[in-house]
Symmetry: C2
C-alpha cells in the first residue's frame, strides 16, 4: 500500500485537519508557552513483539504525554513519525491507529502531522513529538526542588517490571495540580532511582527515600516476597510512567485531596536535602534505617 | 556508550538549554502561530550508506526546514529522534552531530530536545520534528492557489536524481517572501509532478507546465541529451527541496527582484487553471505544445 493511501486511511481520521499539508499551523493561546517533548519507541526494545498493535500505539503515546504531565503541561497535539518494515501487515497499522485514537480521546490530544516511511533495513520505530501548553512561567522543571521538600510519587510502581505487556497510565489529568504544587517533577520512565537522580542533579540536591514508603504495587510486594523480583529490579526498571515531584511538606495534604478527587493517589516516599558528602544523589533506607545498596541506578537505553 | 553520555557529548552542545529536562519550554511571540512539520529519514532509503554522516545530518534537517519554508514559516527549533543500530560507530554520531551544528547556523534553528535509542532490529532512522513561526493568519497552505496563478519554482531541479550524494539547499531564507507573495506553496520532496498535484488537489485546480520552462539543471539537461536520465525520471524524483508556488502573474517581477537579492532564482514554469475534464491534475507540454505522458507521478515512500 502506498504511503499516501496509508496516511489517508489510518492517520487522516486521527488528525485535526485531515493532514492536507506537510505542515500544521497551531494557535498558541496568549500568555502561554509551548512545551515540547519526544520519545522514540522501537519494537523489540520499548514494546515487545507480543504486545498488540493497539497497545503498542497507546504505550508510545503515553510515554510522551507523561513527559508533558511532568512539566505541568496540558496536551495540545502530537506528531507521529513511523519507520516501518516494508513487509508490515496492514492489520498491524490499523490496530496501531485504533490504539492511538482511543488514547487521543483519553488524553484530549490530536494528531497534527508526521511522516510514514518504509525502512529497508527492517525494524519498526515509532517517534512521537508531543506539544503541550502551560501558562507563561508556570512550566515545572527538574531544577526547582528545594532542600526540605518531600518526594511525592503518584500511583504505584513495579507493575511495568512484572509484565512487559503492562499498560502504564500516566496521570496526565494532574498537570494543573503539578503546576500548582510541585517545585520540580519528573516522570518515572527510567526507574525511580535514575529519574529522581536527574532531579537531584538539576536541583543540586540529594534525596533520601524510605523503601517502605515507596508505593509498590501489591504484585510488586508479592514478587519481592517470593523472590520473583529484587528490590533493585523494581526500583531501576522504567516505564511505570508515574510522576515523582518535589513540594513543601505543608502542601501535601491539600495536593492529595485535589489529586484524589481526580482519581490519582499520592505518596510521600522521602525528602530532598542539601547535597550529601557521600556523592550518592539518591539513598534508599530499609526498614531499619540502613542505606540499601544497588549496582545500577536505572535503565540504559543504548 | 550509554544514552546519557551520548546526549551530553554530542547533542547537548547543539541545544538551547543543555537538554537538562525531558521537555523544552518555548516562547511563542504574540500574534504568531506555530508551524509544525516532521520528516523521517532512514539510512539506505532516504540517504545512502555512502553518504557521510556529516551530510546525512544536514540532509535530514534540510528536509524539515524545507517544509517550514513552503509554509512561509521562519525556523524556531527542532526535536531529534534517533533509532540507531546498537553497534553504531561513535564516529558516525560525532560527524552526524557536526553536520547538524553546521546547518543550525545556516538556518538559524536550534535543537530543543529529542530521544536517542538503540534499535535491536538494526536499521538507522532519523525523525525530526521542526517548529517554525508565522505571523498570525499568514501561513501559506497548499489549498490557496487560484485559477490564473502562475506556477513559480525556485532554483533548479534534477540534481537530486543525478547524484544520490547531492545536498539540497532549500530556500529557507525565502520564507518571508513566500508569505508576502504566494497563495499556495509546496516543497518539491516527492517530485514536481506529485507535489504540484498535491497543490492542485487541495486547491481544486489543475496545472499546466511547459517542459522547456521547468528549471532543470545543466547536468539534468545534459543527462536528458545523452540518455542518462529520462524526462519522467527527472520530474518524478523527489529530494530537490526547491519550492513550487502559486502567485498572481503581476507579482512575479517584484517577487523575483526580492528573491534574487537573497540569492534565490525564480522561474515561471506554468499556470494554474480550473480543473480540466481529463482528470489529470498536472499536465506537462513539450516544445510543440503536446501533452507528455508519464507512467507515474512521483516518489512512493512505502
Amino acid at each position: 500500500m502506498a504511503e499516501f493511501d496509508l496516511i489517508e486511511k489510518y492517520f487522516a481520521p486521527l488528525s485535526m485537519d485531515g493532514l492536507k499539508n506537510d505542515t500544521a499551523v497551531l494557535d498558541i493561546p496568549a500568555e502561554h508557552q509551548l512545551v515540547v517533548t519526544s520519545d522514540t519507541s522501537n519494537r523489540g526494545d520499548h514494546f515487545v513483539e507480543e504486545m498488540s498493535a493497539f497497545d503498542a500505539g497507546r504505550k508510545c503515546l503515553r510515554a510522551n504525554v507523561s513527559d508533558l504531565a511532568s512539566s505541568g503541561a496540558d496536551p495540545l497535539a502530537y506528531q507521529l513519525n513511523l519507520a516501518l518494515p516494508k513487509d508490515l501487515d496492514e492489520r498491524w497499522l490499523a490496530d496501531f491507529a485504533a490504539g492511538l485514537a482511543a488514547d487521543q480521546k483519553l488524553y484530549n490530544i490530536a494528531l497534527s502531522g508526521g511522516d510514514t516511511t518504509g525502512m529497508s533495513a527492517g525494524g519498526l520505530s515509532v517517534s512521537i513529538t508531543a506539544l503541550g501548553l502551560v501558562p507563561r512561567g508556570e512550566a515545572v522543571l527538574r531544577s526547582g526542588a528545594r532542600a526540605g521538600d518531600v518526594v511525592v510519587i503518584t500511583g504505584i510502581l513495579g507493575d511495568a517490571f512484572l509484565s512487559r505487556l503492562h499498560m502504564p497510565s500516566p496521570p496526565v489529568v494532574l498537570a494543573p495540580l503539578v503546576r500548582k504544587y510541585a517545585h520540580a517533577a519528573v516522570d518515572i520512565s527510567d526507574g525511580i532511582l535514575a529519574d529522581l537522580g536527574h532531579v537531584c542533579a538539576a536541583s543540586g540536591l540529594s534525596a533520601t527515600l524510605e523503601f517502605d514508603k515507596i508505593p509498590l504495587s501489591k504484585k510488586g510486594r508479592a514478587a519481592l516476597k517470593n523472590g520473583e523480583a529484587s528490590v533493585e529490579e523494581l526500583l531501576t526498571w522504567g516505564e511505570d510512567y508515574e510522576l515523582a515531584m518535589a513540594l513543601v511538606p505543608e502542601d501535601f495534604e491539600a495536593f492529595q485531596a485535589e489529586a484524589n478527587a481526580l482519581g490519582v493517589s499520592l505518596s510521600i516516599a522521602g525528602r530532598f536535602d542539601t547535597r550529601n558528602s557521600e556523592g550518592r544523589a539518591v539513598t534508599v533506607l530499609d526498614a531499619s534505617g540502613q542505606a540499601m545498596h544497588f549496582s545500577k541506578t536505572g535503565w540504559v537505553h543504548f
